[in-house]
């Protein structure tokens, strides 16, 4: 499920840029050594579970699961950028917002079917991400964090601007009609959107997995691990880094469009810095550089604040923070590192 066994970049060329090695939990491939059978078995089992689950759960739970998958898609996007290309971003709420607004405007004003809003949202975000990635090429680490942060801070403000109100609906936002299940399928709206998101998510996940195990993926990781060595080997670092930004924005934009469709509402204040930080937290608890971790990250993002709220109303922030600290203590490299530890314990190594 992960490509790290194929990472063939060595550090013997010299000191790598500071922090590059510590940014990523190095071998983040928990069940890579556990053999093909186990890995595939888990994948198929999870898939079957995902397909039958809506039949046994309440509508609200189905909605929550859909939302989890939507967050997971966005986190996969962030993972492609941060985990595999080593670029830090606090600006992904902006791409999520662009995706969401693209879907909302196309559906409500242009009358486009919700299915077609996804590729449009993705492509618009890819272009925006690529263009943003170009100046970002010159920035690294905290400087890149600040630049992307600027993007996140500006987005809600821009969406509220009066000249754009005709399209964006200003502070009020846009209400979206929920699509029905097509072909007379015996599903209610929530269930249909669940399966729709599941299928889109699955396609995007498999595409991301293939990408990171491909030549391109190796180039991205080579840039992360040692940009100078990568360049010497003939990797066009500028093009790859900007494309990684674009691709990451593509994923996040599609997630944003899906999110808008399932929530049936977009408004500027849903897309603040908090959302970007949420993606980052989701990425880290799931495991940086391990794609399936996104699902865990998405679930964390959705459920843990609620759990904290249930434990204590007044101190929910403190409970959330302590839970987060506890998770990092138990699994410093996220779920990925934790599973890897378990697998190696079980195999007696």
């Amino acid at each position: 499920m992960s490509a790290h066994e194929e990472t063939v970049v060595h550090h013997d060329i010299g000191e790598s840029p500071e922090g590059a090695e510590r940014l990523i939990a190095k071998p983040a491939a928990p069940e890579a050594k556990a053999g093909l059978q186990l890995r595939h078995f888990v994948f198929v089992a999870l898939l079957v579970l995902a397909f039958v689950l809506p039949a046994f759960t309440k509508n609200f739970v189905v909605f929550q699961l859909t939302q989890t998958m939507v967050y997971a898609i966005a986190i996969v996007g962030l993972n492609l950028l941060t985990g595999f290309n080593g670029q830090f971003s606090l600006g992904h709420s902006a791409f999520y917002a662009v995706g969401a607004y693209t879907a909302a405007i196309l559906m409500e004003q242009a009358g486009l079917s919700y299915v077609w809003t996804l590729p449009v949202a993705g492509i618009i975000c890819f272009i925006l991400g690529f263009l943003f990635g170009l100046p970002a090429l010159r920035l690294e680490g905290v400087y890149l964090a600040l630049a992307t942060f600027a993007l996140a801070a500006a987005t809600p403000q821009i969406l509220k601007l009066s000249p754009l109100e005709h399209w964006t609906g200003g502070v009020q936002g846009i209400v979206i009609t929920k699509p029905d299940a097509p072909f007379g399928l015996p599903l209610n709206q929530d269930q249909w959107l669940y399966y729709f998101t599941l299928i889109v998510g699955l396609i995007l996940y498999l595409a991301a997995r293939n990408l990171v195990t491909s030549r391109t993926g190796r180039a991205l990781m080579a840039i992360r691990d040692n940009p100078i060595a990568a360049r010497s080997m003939g990797v066009n670092t500028s093009l790859y880094k900007a494309s990684a930004f674009g691709l990451s924005a593509f994923y996040t934009g599609v997630a944003g469009a899906l999110g808008a469709i399932i929530v049936q509402f977009v408004a500027p204040d849903s897309f603040t810095l908090t959302l970007s930080i949420g993606f980052l937290v989701g990425l880290v608890v799931g495991g940086v550089g391990w794609l399936p971790g996104a699902l865990f990250g998405g679930a964390f993002l959705l459920f843990v604040p609620n759990i904290a709220e249930n434990v204590s109303k007044g101190l929910s922030g403190a409970v959330y923070g302590l839970l987060l600290i506890a998770i990092i203590y138990v699994m410093p490299s996220g779920l990925a590192g934790f599973l890897q530890l378990i697998v190696s314990k079980v195999r007696g190594k």
């Binding site: 840029p17 403000q157 923070g321």
Partner: protein, 292 residues
């Protein structure tokens, strides 16, 4: 022209707040090599401690000194308790811990002192400075204190053994350990000093923006921006950067039509990003050259 001068002056007086915070940001960056998202909340908590002491009829300056000492110890305690056990975790995990700390401290302060706005006394008074209505005596005092702190820090890092050891530990931990510097304690010391500086910043800022658990959120962002603009490796640059951010923000709000007042923060940030594209280490930062 008069409007311009007025806006620049107003920018400098808000910039003083950002400069204070930027200094604390640079301090911790020197010690631990990344930005601490929880720093604003730590400063806010310290300020609440000072407020509590003053409420209990402790004289202002005694409360001030006590708060700085408590913050110093508190900063070291946070490093020892929270960060020491995971010092080998990936950098992004540390960032997540910062976010968690932010959440814990904010929530705890709201729980202990609730979210109502409290006023905080100023040691300099609020009379206008030199008869100008734009800068008050407090803001003048704030600028003065910031500059004094800057001088002290410069002296500490340049002329004392501990200061030298701290710089060495941040620049090259492995070699520092070999020459007998206790690197891990230097990091803790950096946390303590940054928290102490943050508490001073908090106590200077509180009379202007009023005391409440969320007071530091936007100030920290501007402080970060100032620090990054000036260069994270240069305390003097950070202070200048803080002032610059205040001025840019004010001028953007005044002179850019229609969107100016709505987009003050984004415009200031965009200006900073543009500067960074041309000067990637900030205006006064040292360019790090890595040997290959």
């Amino acid at each position: 022209m008069e409007l311009f001068i007025q806006q620049v002056l107003a920018g400098i007086s808000t910039g003083a707040i950002y400069a204070c915070m930027a200094l604390a940001v640079v301090m911790i960056y020197q010690a631990i090599d990344h930005l601490n998202f929880a720093q604003g909340e730590m400063a806010m908590f310290s300020t609440f401690i000072a407020w509590q002491l003053i409420e209990k009829c402790v004289p202002y300056w005694l409360a001030f000194v006590l708060t700085v000492i408590i913050s110093f110890i508190g900063g070291i305690a946070i490093e020892r308790i929270v960060f020491k056990p995971i010092e080998n975790a990936p950098v992004l995990s540390h960032v997540v811990i910062f976010i968690a700390l932010y959440s814990v401290i904010n929530s705890a302060a709201g729980f202990i002192w609730d979210f109502t706005v409290k006023s905080f006394p100023s040691p300099f008074g609020s009379a206008p400075l030199f008869g100008s209505s734009l800068i008050s005596a407090h803001q003048g005092g704030m600028v003065a204190v910031t500059l004094v702190l800057l001088l002290l820090l410069y002296g500490f890092f340049s002329f004392t053994r501990v200061g030298l050891a701290m710089r060495a530990a941040a620049a090259n931990p492995a070699s520092s350990r070999l020459v007998g510097i206790r690197v891990s304690w230097m990091v803790a010391l950096g946390w303590g000093m940054a928290t102490a500086l943050g508490s001073i910043a908090g106590m200077l800022i509180a009379p202007v923006v009023f005391l409440e658990p969320n007071m530091m959120i936007s100030i920290l962002l501007y402080g970060f921006a100032g620090a990054v603009l000036g260069g994270l490796t240069s305390p003097g640059g950070a202070v200048l950067g803080g002032f610059a951010v205040g001025v840019i923000e004010n001028l953007a709000g005044t002179y850019i039509p229609v969107v100016g007042s709505e987009l003050k923060l984004p415009i200031a940030l965009v200006v900073i990003v543009v500067v960074l594209v041309f000067k990637p280490a900030g205006l006064f930062g040292r360019v790090v050259v890595s040997r290959v």
